[in-house]
């Protein structure tokens, strides 16, 4: 008994995919002063998140205050 032939339709479905480099990341600055102790707006609570900004209930003025004027 002869083997079944591979069809061109099957060949079309054969695929390849470029994989990205595996690069493990570590954001050493995520909890350093600039991100950990951030006061956002007037009366907002400090936060750190995916994007280090927030506008819960005020403007973004004085978004950072650290070093000489740390606010914890």
């Amino acid at each position: 008994m002869s083997a079944s032939p591979v069809t061109m339709e099957e060949l079309e479905l054969e695929s390849a995919e470029l994989l990205p480099n595996r690069e493990t990341l570590c954001c050493g600055g995520s909890y350093h002063p600039g991100n950990s102790f951030t006061q956002v707006g007037y009366g907002n609570t400090a936060q750190s998140g995916l994007v280090n900004v927030s506008a819960l209930n005020g403007s973004f003025d004085n978004i950072l205050s650290l070093g000489s004027g740390n606010i914890l």
Binding site: E17, P20, L66
Partner: protein, 498 residues
Amino acid sequence: MCEYLRGGAGEGPSGTAGRPSSLPAASDPSQSATPSQSATPSLSTVPEVTVPEAPRLALGVDLLGEFKNSGYSPPPFLVRRPDGQVIQMSRLLYLVATLINGIRSAAVIAELASADLGRSLGADQVRYIIAAKLLPLGLIAGPGAPAAPPTASPLLALRARGTLLPETGANVVAALLRPLFRWPAVLAVVVSVAAVDWWLLATHQLAIGLDQLLRDPATLLIVFVLSVASAAFHECGHATACRYGGARPGKIGAGIYLVWPSFFTNVTDSYRLSRAARLRTDLGGLYFNLIFILGMAVLYEATSARILLLVIAVTHLEMLQQLLPFVRFDGYFILSDIVGVPDLFARVTPILRSVRGKGRTDPRVAGLRRGARIAVTSWVLCVVPLLTITVGYLLICLPQINRALWRATVQQARLAGTAIGAHHYAIAALDAIGVALAALSVVGSLYIVIGLTRRAVILGLRWSADRPVRRLAFAVVAAAIAASLATLWASQGQFRGW
């Protein structure tokens, strides 16, 4: 006759094989090598190239074997190009690649492949595979090989990277630290850190460290420096785990991830490891964080510097952050390796398309096992709204955010100047870090928005190519979005007060 099937005389039934009748006309193959799509062209994009009589692989192509513990059935195979690009491919493509040696003709390759497959594969089909599937990927040497083979361009990847430790150095460090992954050492570290944490929480020592920080904000500089050191050591953990598993880590460096300065380690070679070894590579960084915590505990015992206790707490927070699976932190790779599906972000579009149920299932999701499909779909359903809301929020508040960041930059610079004048150099250093971070956040937010806009425009242009009605619709939608944003920003006064 289509030129791509020209092969060696006498190999096919008629010397130079004819194109199978089911194949449509050829067109530009470069369109297939987009990051958002499968890398091989469909039959409608077959390149017109000459297949050598005895094809050979490009110099330096490495056949890595099966992707172990894959979430796909049947499992895919891996090939690495000399430029480091790893390609995942189906078994048949891989089988043909393994049989190509610069001596065998397409007919011989077809015969051997047929024996391996248990099915009949013709010489013409082998030439088709070479011309349409392998050649565009830069895996075949000779005429028709792309001058610049396609490379992956993943979404939300690290940018502006620089090398801190080259590959050789990373391997030396990894070889030296390898004994840390022997199980008695791992057990000792985990138990010791658990004891340190219990002591820290039970004795409220953490509050004392925080109190010291409040009394002397300059000590924040110590927290910052040690936090950066912890992150660098974290990357050594990935490199060491990669080496321990039998793969070769690449360079360790630094770059910008979204808006964050970030260390990175290239562990691409770990693709070829087993699931357990890949997971060890993913968790190696967190394990080294534990070792770092132990080091801080020992240092505290020697110095009684309570700020070190705060460093321990901060390191724990960094470890928790690393477990986030929604951006390319360790949690993302852990999830990816548990389900056996590399590059989860590349599954977003195919999964969403498959939910719509239109057209043929994308090969990137077609072969997923049930468990892997459920896991990947769940991840997509979480990550899409999360990133949409985050990016949407960033867009809506972009001028306001950057105004605040700019003001913060100016304010921190002023404070740094004042601190220098008062000879408070530690405070000045903190303020300088604040200036850098605020400025970096401005650049980062703009970079994200510009990058995503660019991708959206490219997708829109591709979607509307040669279709005037679609192009008009795309232009109208793009203009409407831009006008709406500008109106919103202006009405909220986001352009004022800079």
